[in-house]
């Protein structure tokens, strides 16, 4: 089956939630990928919507680039709400 293209499968489990990556399937075309994904990943009503995406069209960050890529956000603690201490009297904000 490796001669068939690989598709990554994303399933929206409930209305209002994001599609989430669940795995992959091989298929001759996108339509078959959709049917295979339904059979493989939603046998117990796990989803209300499916995306199938050819794996070779995904651009991913390399894990060894982690430091370079995410470094700029590491030292900006003032971007988090918890950085700003408020007096107790102010209450919940």
């Amino acid at each position: 089956m490796s001669e068939w293209r690989l598709y990554e499968v994303f399933v929206r489990s409930k209305h209002g939630l994001n599609h989430k990556h669940v795995g992959s399937v091989h298929a001759a075309d996108a339509e078959m990928a959709m049917e295979n994904a339904r059979d493989l990943y939603t046998r117990r009503s796990e989803g209300v919507s499916i995306w199938v995406v050819p794996s070779d069209t995904i651009t991913a960050s390399a894990s060894d680039e982690k430091e370079v890529l995410f470094d700029p956000s590491e030292d900006k603690i003032y971007r988090h709400a918890s950085f700003y201490k408020l007096p107790d009297e102010v209450g919940h904000m």
């Binding site: 490796s2 001759a28 078959m32 493989l40 046998r43 894990s63």
Partner: protein
Amino acid sequence: MYAQLVETGAKRLKTKEEMSPEELEFQEKVDAEIKIEPKNWMPEGYRKTLIRQISQHAHSEVVGMLPEGNWVTRAPNLKRKLQLMAKIQDEAGHGLYLYSSMETLGADRDEEIEKLHQGKAKYSSIFNYPTLNWADMGAVGWLVDGAAIVNQVVLQRTSYGPYSRAMVRICKEESFHQRQGYQILLDMMREGTDEQKAMVQDAINRIWWPALMMFGPHDDESPNSQQSLAWKIKRKSNDELRQMFIDQTIPQLEFLGCTAPDPDLKWNEETGHYDFGEINWQEFYDVLKGNGPCNRERITTRKKAIDEGAWVRQAAVAYAEKQKQRANAA
């Protein structure tokens, strides 16, 4: 266990001083319970061991459909038939989750399946035993899936991310298998004729020892199990898992009103575990080498399915090609 005797290529464990900086960083990540993902650096031995273990596991799921397939047309009623088909469909799904996670390591699915067909890759010894009566479907679900669950629950914490996530999915679905199996036996013991009750005991007598063999040989000082444990591919030893399985299964066996074919089986107050007799290891190795009651039949059936389905796969590719051309022309 669905993977028995997995070769790691290790002669002995490396000390931290002997590791390269990359190996050391890798080992520290594993020790800190940080999951290894496909694009992370990993030792070649780790990659190869995982490919062997996951492919064995996947092959076991796929071959595991065959003993049950034998009973689809013979199930006693429509309800049981539907349940059995759902279980078999799950096994196919489990095989596919596992092949997918194996492919993230750079292995090729067709090549690994070809190795199975050539007898170069193993699958669990349990599926080389025949399923002779309807109670076997109950005993397989309860004992074989039960043993698989004990192993797989622990494997949810395995160090390789995609394998671990496949295990989480599989475990969610597997408990239906075990319950439906136990319920088949329970119904037969509660409402069955004497003959049907005897079928239950007969099925347990035949499947008991092969189910215990699923966990693989005794723990030893072998570099393979030590390396797999150090890499956290395996999380518990074969003997620990086997003991867990026996301890949780005996009360269920007693509730059924059946016995295990093991005169040495008894509760040990001191250890808080059941003692049990020695497994016939000669039989285990014979079956693993390909000389079990059904080894040849299983592989022949698998090959036939692949070969006779070739035209379907070719037609699907031709159809997809034609659709693409039409879309381009339009």
